[in-house]
Every structure is written in structure tokens, then in C-alpha cells.
Amino acid sequence: MREGVCMQEFDLVIIGGGPAGLAAAIAAKKEGVDSILLLEREMRLGGILNQCIHNGFGLHYFKEELTGPEYAQKFIDELTTLGIECKLSTMVIDITQEKQVTAVNMEEGILIIKAKTIILAMGCREKTRGAINIPGCRCAGIYTAGAAQKYVNIEGLMPGRKVVVLGSGDIGLIMARRMTLEGGEVKAVFELMPYSTGLKRNIVQCLDDYGIPVRYNHTIIDIKGRDRLEGVTAVKVDENRHPIKGTEEYIACDTLLLSVGLIPENELSKKAGVELSPITGGAVVNEDMETNTPGIFSCGNVLHVHDLADNVSVESEIAGKSAARYLNGRIYKTIYHGVIGGEGIRYTVPQKMNLDVVENYVEIRFRVNNIFINSYISVYFDNKRILHIRKRILSPGEMESIKLTRNLIGLNSDFSDILIKIEKE
């Protein structure tokens, strides 16, 4: 044992104190787990919600319309009341397969924490200009939308005046409105796909209401600026997302906001030997939000990128409860039905399910891979269709879910896999 390096033991260690970690912690505590440690790298709990000062949070979960910080505060208050231990300004730098967590902070230095269970709730990071390889100058004035949001909402400082947004994901839409409200001029939102990748309500409330044009089937192929950004070149793309020669247009601006994708932040998960899905970028889990490593659970944006914090909370409660059950000696499941995304489905979470013990229902969340109008969500147990739900609109930017009730499962017990797909009739 090293002299000076602090060693501790906890039944449950939760990595991340955003909406996922908070809900998971509270759920575990309510199930009787007392030895909980929540590790958060920022100096306050709340995660990304702290900078999401717009409202629209809690419509489902609390039946109220709250801002991000307000939504987070409800959980933080409950966590405090329940007396759950947290370490703030603490960065986890390693997790082993044996569930040993290494963290560091200024007060205590290096912490080595032996955990019986771990909940991964680290959230996600933003895709960068470098990752999508936009050519051009590397001047100042290019930000991911979330990073710009932090400057504006937390620091009270404007990244720039004349703004172009690439990507119609929710963060880009929210920031288009935000910059406008602070006196910036948002010239356009460019979106590669023929549809928005964000929530429909954000298109209306952030762009339409402010007269900000959105140009679908467009992308940016050049960036000009010696020291600070001076302009970008936008171009139309064809059905293969390739630039169409001759459609280039130069737009003068000093700020480019990128909202081109979120990537679950699973670097630590990899170190712990957790199996990741190449489609979601997050862990492969069962209906308990348990990964392939017994006793390691995952929830929230680190599992798959959500649209609504409300769904994160629900999902994370499952993880918290499951961790509690694990600690109470529940046996690790080994036999699974595969949950398969068929035609029209991009991914499902969970990717496998054991349905021996189902309380009321199990929920499968999924995203479609295209826009579908007047179609059906169909669920098959092997070849037998057991659900056929009509939906007016299905879009990749809006996560969907279906519930399999205990009855439904009970009536159709002998099957191998669950298939979800989108059907025309």
C-alpha cells in the first residue's frame, strides 16, 4: 500500500454528477444502498444542465416546464436530503476491470477507490471541426456549440458577433437563438441532411420564431480567416452528401458554431473492459443497464445520446435500482434475448434482454435512421408480430420507445429474439 495515497471502499461508485449520475444515486439510495460515492469533475453538480438555461426540461418527469439548472437542482436537493456522499472537482483518471477507480483532486490528491459496483454516467463530448475534417484556416472563432454555450451562459461572454451554425442538432438550434438574444447576428444554420437532427419544437422556437434561415442539404467546405474567422464557404450536397460543384457560396462571419454530433465519452469504460457498441458509441447493456462486466452499469448520454433529460432520469433510475439489486446478491443473468434493430432502426438500447423477472414492463429506447411518415413501429418476438403502433412522424432526431408489459411477455414466452422495425403497413 502506498504511503500517502488515499484508499477507500464503497459499495457503489458513480462517475458523473449530471442528470444521469444524480438520478442513479438517488434511486440506489432509495433501494437501501448507503455506501455510495458520487464523483464529479466540475465544482458543482448538475453536469451539462448547468449551462442549459433554456426551458423545456421536466415536461414529462415533473409535469412542469423547467430550465436545465432548475431541473438539476430538484435532484441535487434530493441527493442532499438523502445524505449521499459526493466529491466535487474530482477527476476520475482510471477504472480497472476489478472495479478499482483512481481519481484525483486538489484537496486529497490521488484517491484509489475499491467499488463493488460502478455506474458510468460520464456524459458525452462534442464532435469537433478536426473530426469532420473541414479544410481551411485554423483561425480563432470556431467553437463547438456547447463550448460557446458555456462562454455565453456561464461566463457571460460572447464568442463573436456574426454567426454561422453548422448542424441543426439541438445544441446548434438553442445556440442560434441564444446568440440572437444576446445581440449577435445569426446568418444561417446549415444542415447536411435533408431534415433537422434536433427536436421539431426547437426548429420552431429557435429558428422560425427568430427568422433564422435553415439550409438543409448543405455543408461547409472552407474556412477563411488569418487570425480570426472572416468567412466560410457553404455548398449544397447531393443525395450522397457530396458537394455539388458550382453551388458554393461565401458567407462573411466571425463565428462558426459546430453542432455536428455528440460522442459518448467512454474512454474510462474502455479501460474497465466494458464492451461498446460501434453504433451508439456507448456500452452494450441489458434491460438493467448492466454492461458485459457484472456490476458495471451505464446510463445517460454516455450510454447513448439522449434528446430529453427526462428520459435520462428514467433510464438512470433503472441503473441505480439494478446496482442495488446486484449488491443484494442478485445473480448475474447469462441468457438473453437479442434486441435487434431491423429495417428503419438505427440502434436500440438495451441491445439484449433477459425477461425472466419483469416487474411491470421493460422499455426499449431506439432511434430511426430516416424520416418516416404515417408508418408503424412493429415489434416481433421471432417471427410473430406482437406490437404494431402507428406513428404519424418518426425522425432520427427524436428518440422513441416502446414498452413490453409483463402480460405481453407472459403470453408469448417461447422466443429467441426481439425485432423492432418500421413498416409501411
Binding site: 495515497v5 483532486n105 469537433t128 475534417n133 484556416c137 464568442p159 487570425d227
Partner: protein, 478 residues
């Protein structure tokens, strides 16, 4: 009055400065940017070439091999990362085997040690991830990889510690001969020097032409690169070249000394010396060409791309000489590849030229050792614990992707020739070079810079000049 004025604080200027600082000479460097290494030095392949590529009996060949051999001692004294990982030049056709053999011969003429041709199973075992189409390769064990800007910082800091003065944001606008001295006028001040060393990179032609009637012309030749995530940094262990063409060494694939994978460069002439943009064609080109060397190109793991400008002259060799019609004015011009490798040797050559002109002695208090910034990510946990107890800021991780602590960033700002910009912190610590490309840490680094330099957050720039990160306070635009 200075004995020596060096124009340009790139790898060449800094190497010369450090070498000269061993002597009892009054030396200064004039650098137009806000920091060292901001030109070609920070945007190249970062390879310490073995030396088989240079034409025999050229200055390039001689200084390449000489310089290469100096890296072990230098990297130890100055604490910058250097690794002799070895180079492989791949040959894809039996018909080209003679070209490979010629390259080997050329290397041997140049004095490159231990060259051998490897093929078949031996090649496969050495590098399992190179293309199946490679029939053979020239293996040069003395090839290496280095961090060119960290090396430049190390040289500069050591030169500074040993008495060299650095003047940043001083752009030379005129040089005139007065008596047997030179008056160098910058946008900020005037300097007098006995000997002037022109190490101004892609602007060295303009500097030369201020004083000499024998004008020089630099042709900037752009090279573009893609950097990949560290998770594929160990796809290969050696630096993989393809057989060279007329345009140069061609597109390489290499691990970097920091653990990333680097692909590039192309070679495209351009006029604009201020244009460091990458291009769609250029990036597509290097990725396509490099794909021929390795089994697969992990396209979804690109984290960044950049371009650098080589300072080419028509001469195709280094120009290291005193100007005929300007005694005491030494040109170090056209230092394109293998310039980085040759830099320690160039420094020795130039230093010898200087001390022939100015009688002087070696300082008895010259300190060859420079300690770099402590790397949290490389320290064992118990040592880290001690360090954090001593200075808690080492326990505050600012750059999550690269695991860089606040303590390191503060060291970067306050050490000699400390960082003043976001890029300055980035190049000294690697904060911002990870997969999120400073998405998480930029605002934190900005705050630390503002606090430590006692500046307003709005004043902090990415790399000096007008590259401000923030514009104004909220609501000021309404």
C-alpha cells in the same frame, strides 16, 4: 549592441541561439510572432531522418546525418521527447526494387549506419499493419520521431537561461549596414549587431533582400497533415515512407512521439506566405496516398489536420553562408526537409562561423541542462501524491483528454519565455491536443491565462495578433 542578432525563433534560430549561448557573446533573437516555433517548425512531419534520402555530397546530406546523431544527447540535456523508432521505405513493385537499392546505396554514401533491405515474413513481423502489397522495404534503424515545438521551446528556454535575449512581436522591417555593424529595425525597436543570422524561414528571402543585392526567392511549398486519435497511435511502430518522387519524400504514416498517428504531407507550391489553410483536395490526397502503405485508414478517428509551408529555394540545398556583399550577415536559408533533423548540426556550423569572426571564449557557467514541465500523465501515483501535497494545483485536471493539470499550465505560463496565448499553453503542455480538441478545456485555460497574466478574459488570444477568443460581454451588442 549585440555580438549576434538572430532573426527567427524557429527550430533553426533556437538551435543556433542555444549553441551560441555556450560562448561569452551578447546574443538576441528577434521573432515577429508572439512565441517561438510558430512558423514551419510547428507544422511538419516531426521526423528525425536517417539521411538516406538526401543527395550525396550536398549540405543537406552532411548535416542530416550529423544532426541525426546529436539527438540522443540533446534530448537528454534539454528534456524533450525523442524516440529512435526507425524508418521503413516501402516498395510495392518488384520493378522498383532497384530504386530501393539505390536509396540504400545513397544512404550508405551519406554515412547512414545499419541500413538493410527487409522483405517477406521479416517485414510482416516487424510491422503487421502495413499493406500486404509491400514487397520489400528499406529499414533505417537510426530514423526517429521528435516533438519539434517542444524541442524548440527547450532550446529557447535553455538559450534564455544562458543569457540570450528574446524579443517577441518584433518584425524586422529594415536592415542597414552602419560602419561594420548592422542596424536592424523592427516594428517595435532598433537593434545593433555585429553579426546577423537570417533564420527567418519562409521570410528569409525578404530578410536577405533587405541587405544583399544577390536576391533570393523562397517558394512556399505547402504540406498538409491529418492527426489521428491515440487509440491508433500504435498501429505501426516505425515511420513508414513510400519510395520518394520528384516532389520529395512523399506521404508518410508515422506514430508521433506523443502517441498519435500522423499522415502526410502533400507538396503544393503556393504564393501566399500567410495562408496556412488546408484544402479539400490536399487532405483527400494524403489520406488516399497514405492508405496504400497500411492495411486500413481509421478515417473516423481523425482528430485534427493542419498545414505547414516549406521554405524552398531553387537551389534545392541548404544555403548556409555569409553574404558576399554583406560581411557579417549569415544566411541560413531554404531549410526545408531535412531541416529539423539537421538543426543541431546547422547550429554547430553557424556557431563555428560566428566564433571565427568574433574572438570569444566558452562560458564557464554554461548550463546545458533544461528541465521540461512535469507531466502528470507520466508520473507514478505516489510521486503525484507528493507533488499535489506540495502544490494542490497539480491535482486539478484541466485537460481531461490528455490528463493535464492546472499546475502544468501555470508552469507553462510562468517559466522563462512562458505561454501568453491558448496555443502557447497547448504547445507547452498538450492541453487542447486531445480528442475533444480543447472543447472541454479552452474556457478553463483562458481563465487561467487571464488570471495569471492579469489580463481581461476578452484580451486572451489563440495565437497572438488579432486571434481573440471572445468579443465582448453579453448584451453589449444589443
Amino acid at each position: 549592441m549585440y555580438n549576434v542578432i538572430i532573426i527567427g525563433a524557429g527550430i533553426v534560430g533556437s538551435s543556433i541561439a542555444r549553441e551560441l549561448s555556450k560562448y561569452d557573446l551578447k546574443v538576441c533573437i528577434l521573432e515577429k510572432q508572439v512565441d517561438v516555433a510558430m512558423g514551419t517548425t510547428k507544422a511538419n512531419s516531426a521526423i528525425v531522418h536517417a539521411g538516406f534520402d538526401a543527395k550525396p555530397n550536398t549540405i543537406k546530406a552532411k548535416l542530416n546525418v550529423m544532426g541525426n546523431s546529436m539527438f540522443d544527447l540533446l534530448s537528454e540535456e534539454l528534456d524533450f521527447p525523442f524516440k529512435r523508432n526507425g524508418s521503413l521505405v516501402l516498395c510495392f513493385h518488384e520493378n522498383d526494387m532497384d530504386k530501393l537499392l539505390l536509396l540504400k546505396e545513397q544512404g550508405e554514401k551519406n554515412g547512414v549506419p545499419n541500413l538493410e533491405i527487409i522483405s517477406g515474413k521479416a517485414l510482416c513481423d516487424m510491422e503487421p499493419n502495413i499493406s500486404q502489397n509491400a514487397v520489400a522495404a528499406l529499414y533505417a534503424p537510426t530514423g526517429g520521431i521528435v516533438c519539434p515545438y517542444e524541442m524548440t521551446l527547450a532550446l529557447s528556454e535553455n538559450a534564455y537561461e544562458n543569457g540570450v535575449e528574446f524579443f517577441f512581436e518584433n518584425k524586422v522591417i529594415d536592415i542597414s549596414a552602419i560602419d561594420n555593424k548592422y542596424k536592424v529595425i523592427t516594428n517595435k525597436d532598433e537593434y545593433l549587431g555585429e553579426v546577423i543570422i537570417n533564420a527567418a524561414g519562409i521570410y528569409s528571402d525578404e530578410i536577405n533582400n533587405m541587405i544583399s543585392s544577390e536576391s533570393l526567392k523562397i517558394i512556399p511549398r505547402r504540406g498538409e497533415y491529418c492527426v489521428f486519435d491515440k487509440s491508433v497511435g500504435n498501429m505501426i511502430s516505425k515511420t513508414i515512407f513510400q519510395l520518394p518522387s520528384k516532389l520529395g519524400k512523399g506521404v508518410l504514416v508515422t506514430p508521433t512521439v506523443d502517441g498519435n498517428l500522423l499522415v502526410g504531407p502533400n507538396a503544393v507550391n503556393q504564393d501566399d506566405k500567410e495562408d496556412f489553410a488546408t484544402t479539400l483536395e490536399g487532405l483527400e490526397n494524403i489520406l488516399k496516398t497514405a492508405s496504400e502503405s497500411i492495411k486500413y485508414m481509421p478515417m473516423n478517428l481523425i482528430i485534427n489536420s493542419f498545414s505547414g509551408l516549406r521554405a524552398r529555394t531553387e537551389k534545392d540545398d541548404f544555403i548556409i553562408s555569409e553574404v558576399k556583399d554583406a560581411i557579417g550577415f549569415i544566411n541560413v536559408v531554404g531549410i526545408e526537409s531535412p531541416g529539423l533533423t539537421s538543426a543541431p548540426a546547422i547550429a554547430k556550423v553557424v556557431c563555428d562561423m560566428v566564433i571565427k569572426k568574433i574572438p570569444t571564449e566558452i562560458k564557464n557557467n554554461f548550463n546545458p541542462i533544461r528541465k521540461g514541465i512535469l507531466k502528470f500523465r507520466e508520473m507514478p501515483l505516489d510521486q503525484l501524491q507528493v507533488k499535489i501535497e506540495e502544490d494542490p494545483r497539480y491535482g486539478n485536471i484541466v485537460c481531461r483528454c490528455e490528463t493535464i493539470s492546472e499546475g502544468e499550465i501555470i508552469d507553462a505560463i510562468h517559466r522563462p519565455l512562458g505561454a501568453k496565448t491558448l496555443d502557447g499553453v497547448k504547445f507547452r503542455t498538450r492541453a487542447g491536443m486531445g480528442r475533444c480538441q480543447s472543447g472541454f478545456c479552452a474556457s478553463r485555460i483562458l481563465d487561467i491565462l487571464a488570471r495569471e497574466l492579469r489580463k481581461d478574459q476578452l484580451e486572451i488570444t489563440k495565437f497572438g495578433r488579432e486571434s481573440r477568443i471572445l468579443t465582448c460581454k453579453n448584451k453589449e451588442l444589443i
